[in-house]
């Protein structure tokens, strides 16, 4: 016997919030009604539907208050590091220092969605010569120009090499506007030559030890820059502590993913899981609070599993590849009769634990090389097949981001691998930052995928 979990509209959340407050709800400093973020221009919020738990409220308030947190960090004299094109390496280093806050400027790619194109960041990027033919992460460039979303960092780092061409162009334009950037190079992860010394990376990919040594030398330069910025040494003991804390967050997220994706009925909606997963990259500018947010979500999910509370029973188990530019599409999955059973949002290596049995910088180099984006599409497709199979997926959705060049071929490679190896139906969806006009077309594709998967199940 299960109880159906019903997501709430923003207005319903406000009413529930008042009830909770009357009941003595205790909240962190960034708490409050969700609708208060509308006043900051987050116009997309009334069009989303939310998990009704206090843990989810905390997650959303944490996500939507990051700008305030960064402003407080600046006001209190903490050093701010913007770690660009980095899905979980430099922030681990930065948070190993006592007076440094790191954030993810690339996260600005969600501003056009959350603010429904009202923030003017695309317009500012257009004016810099980066139009809609570029990945929506050009919003980051616009955010630097408008200076309305985050303080200008004291140090900007950016990985370059085997990363997205669009992002490199955008970051170079930013550099050209007068923002100094510490570039560190990440090479294309190649298969080791026969007889070449190699190492298994977190997550299972393999790289040559020569490549690991190279990345380590690049991270050594980052370490020196961070030490200079913070005015304190970033020695191995500090780094090891930082890695331990990052791994604690990764373990909590891994446990949350396991509980949610492997349970039936699904105890947490796809939208909240997307947000929760995104936190792991840069801790939403507060590592300690990220740990607490995960702890609350885990407790809520455990309680729901015990009580048999969840989304619709029998929903089609969907493995989702790539994050969506429009958050509303995650609601749509459930509207169409689906649920998540696993994800690969381009940063699966930020969920894998960083090795603690090797020298810290070497461990971080291995973690950086495990990035699915720096290897071949075939490598990435293999991991997706492995994880989709482990999640007992019945269908796979590969979402594309318009203009994001690193997605152009990968979708095809992943689709082919999933169809060939797992025999599962798979679709690709292109999701722009505001997808309202495409909603009927997106719905048709997802519904058709659900029908196809259900038909297979019946057979």
């Amino acid at each position: 016997m299960t109880t159906r979990l019903t997501p709430l509209t923003l207005a319903q959340w406000d009413a529930r919030y008042e009830e909770l407050k009357r009941g003595g709800l205790s909240e962190p400093s960034y708490g409050g009604r969700l609708s208060r973020h509308l006043e900051d221009g987050d116009l997309r919020l009334p069009k989303l539907r939310y998990d009704p738990s206090v843990a989810a409220l905390r997650l959303w308030n944490f996500l939507l208050s990051e700008e305030d947190r960064l402003a407080q960090a600046r006001a209190s004299g903490r050093k701010i590091v913007g770690a660009m094109k980095d899905l979980g390496t430099v922030p681990v280093m930065a948070y190993s220092l006592p007076n440094v806050t790191a954030f993810y400027p690339d996260g600005a790619w969600w501003i056009p969605c959350v603010m429904e194109l009202s923030a003017g960041v695309f317009r500012a990027a257009d004016a810099c010569g980066l139009d809609e033919s570029f990945c929506p992460v050009r919003a980051m460039l616009g955010a630097f120009v408008t200076q309305a979303h985050f303080p200008i960092p004291d140090l900007l780092t950016c990985s370059v090499g085997a990363t997205c061409d669009d992002f490199s162009a955008i970051a170079q334009r930013l550099n050209g506007l007068g923002y100094p950037i510490l570039w560190w190079e990440i090479p294309h992860r190649r298969a080791p030559d026969p007889g070449e010394k190699s190492v298994v990376l977190p997550g299972g990919f393999v790289a040559s030890t020569a490549q690991v040594a190279f990345v380590r030398s690049e991270l050594e330069r980052v370490r020196r820059a961070l030490e200079e910025l913070a005015g304190v040494p970033l020695d191995d003991a500090r780094l090891a502590d930082g890695i331990r804390m990052a791994n604690e967050a990764r373990r909590r997220l891994a446990e949350l993913r396991r509980c949610v994706y492997h349970s039936d009925p699904c105890p947490l909606p796809a939208l909240e899981m997307l947000v929760a997963e995104m936190l792991i990259i840069h801790f939403c500018s507060d590592r300690g609070e990220t740990l607490s947010v995960y702890a609350d979500l885990l407790a809520e999910v455990e309680a729901r599993r015990k009580a048999g509370v969840g989304l619709a029973e029998g929903a089609v188990r969907v493995f989702w590849v790539n994050p969506v530019a429009d958050l509303q599409v995650m609601n749509l999955l459930e509207d169409c009769g689906g649920r998540l059973c696993g994800t690969e949002y381009l940063f699966c290596h930020a969920v894998d634990e960083i090795p603690e049995d090797v020298e810290p910088l070497d461990a971080l180099a291995r973690a950086a090389l495990a990035d699915p984006m720096v290897g071949s599409s075939a490598d990435r497709a293999q991991r997706i097949c492995r994880d989709a199979e482990a999640g007992r997926a019945e269908a796979v959705i590969v979402s594309r981001i318009p203009g994001a060049s690193h997605c152009a071929y990968e979708g095809y490679a992943i689709r082919e691998a999933v169809a060939r190896q797992l025999g599962l139906p798979v679709i690709e969806l292109e999701v722009p930052p505001v997808s309202d006009s495409m909603r009927p077309a997106l719905r048709t594709r997802i519904e058709a995928l659900m029908e196809t998967a259900r038909n297979r199940r019946a057979q």
């Binding site: 095809y412 139906p425 679709i427 292109e430 077309a441 048709t444 519904e447 058709a448 029908e451 196809t452």
Partner: protein, 261 residues
């Protein structure tokens, strides 16, 4: 027991009346779409019922499909056009393994299992260059009815190259070709090939034969040949290709009705 399939397409509404006990088609028809999708569907349904001396009371169940399916409020349930086309083609061509459907606003490629169920599908989502909308635009530019494009193209000795992925840019190309004195036949042939190439790209490396062609664009003469060229194998036009989706919806309605739906 009478059941109904309604296909609310972007260009036209199609309705099929089916005897659920025998699965025989009692009547079928189409009308041009308008902003009042439900109104058009209702008028068409009433016409067909009248033709068979039936009243709405006789209708046990209605399944709607097509892009406007959620606007047909008198429908008992909705099913996507992917599933409906598979059912419709299976009924008429049980050997089908691949279905190409080209409608007014999108194109689809369905891979079917031996039992006719959908194994996998692809849909265009980037542009209208592989859809009927493209052909409509061209017919306006070439100042001729859509149905005549195929005849015109068949007179061409060579095909113009239409390279744009976007209908708007392609229109500019066509204007340029016309201004350059390129014969309309060559442009029409080039456009058919461009549509076919976009559609064939959905298949990736292979399309298991036999391949059947459905949707309104399948009635445009010459499109089957252009598709066959692009696929590198025969492509057969399904029987009453514009009605395949509505027929599939009616067959699903019949099954639902038999199951007590």
């Amino acid at each position: 027991m009478i059941v109904v399939g309604v296909d609310g397409g972007s260009r036209a509404v199609k309705v099929v009346l089916l005897d659920a006990d025998s699965n025989l088609v009692l009547a079928a028809g189409e009308r041009d779409q308008s902003v009042d999708h439900e109104g058009v569907a209702r008028v068409l349904l009433n016409e067909l019922l009248e033709k068979r001396n039936l009243t709405q009371d006789a209708v046990k169940r209605v399944v709607a499909t097509g892009y406007a399916r959620n606007l047909i409020r008198f429908a008992s349930s909705t099913v996507t056009e992917i599933t409906c086309h598979a059912h419709g083609v299976r009924r008429q061509h049980p050997d089908a393994r691949t279905v190409v459907e080209v409608g007014g606003q999108d194109s689809k490629l369905l891979r079917l299992n031996e039992d006719g169920s959908v194994r996998d599908f692809q849909m265009n989502d980037r542009c209208a260059a592989g859809t009927g909308r493209f052909l409509e635009m061209v017919s306006v530019r070439l100042e001729m009815p859509l149905t005549e494009i195929g005849k015109l193209a068949s007179r061409a000795n060579t095909r113009s190259a239409i390279s744009s992925m976007c209908v708007v840019f392609a229109e500019s190309e066509i204007i340029g070709l016309l201004a350059g004195g390129v014969p309309r036949e060559e442009i029409a042939a080039g456009v058919q090939q461009a549509v076919a190439t976009r559609v064939a790209a959905l298949a990736g490396r292979s399309a298991t034969p036999p391949v059947y062609f459905t949707g309104g664009v399948a009635r445009v003469s010459g499109m089957d040949r252009a598709l066959a060229d692009a696929f590198g194998q025969p492509v057969q036009v399904a029987r009453d290709p514009h009605l395949t989706g509505a027929l599939g919806a009616a067959l699903i309605a019949a099954r639902q009705a038999r199951n007590g739906g």
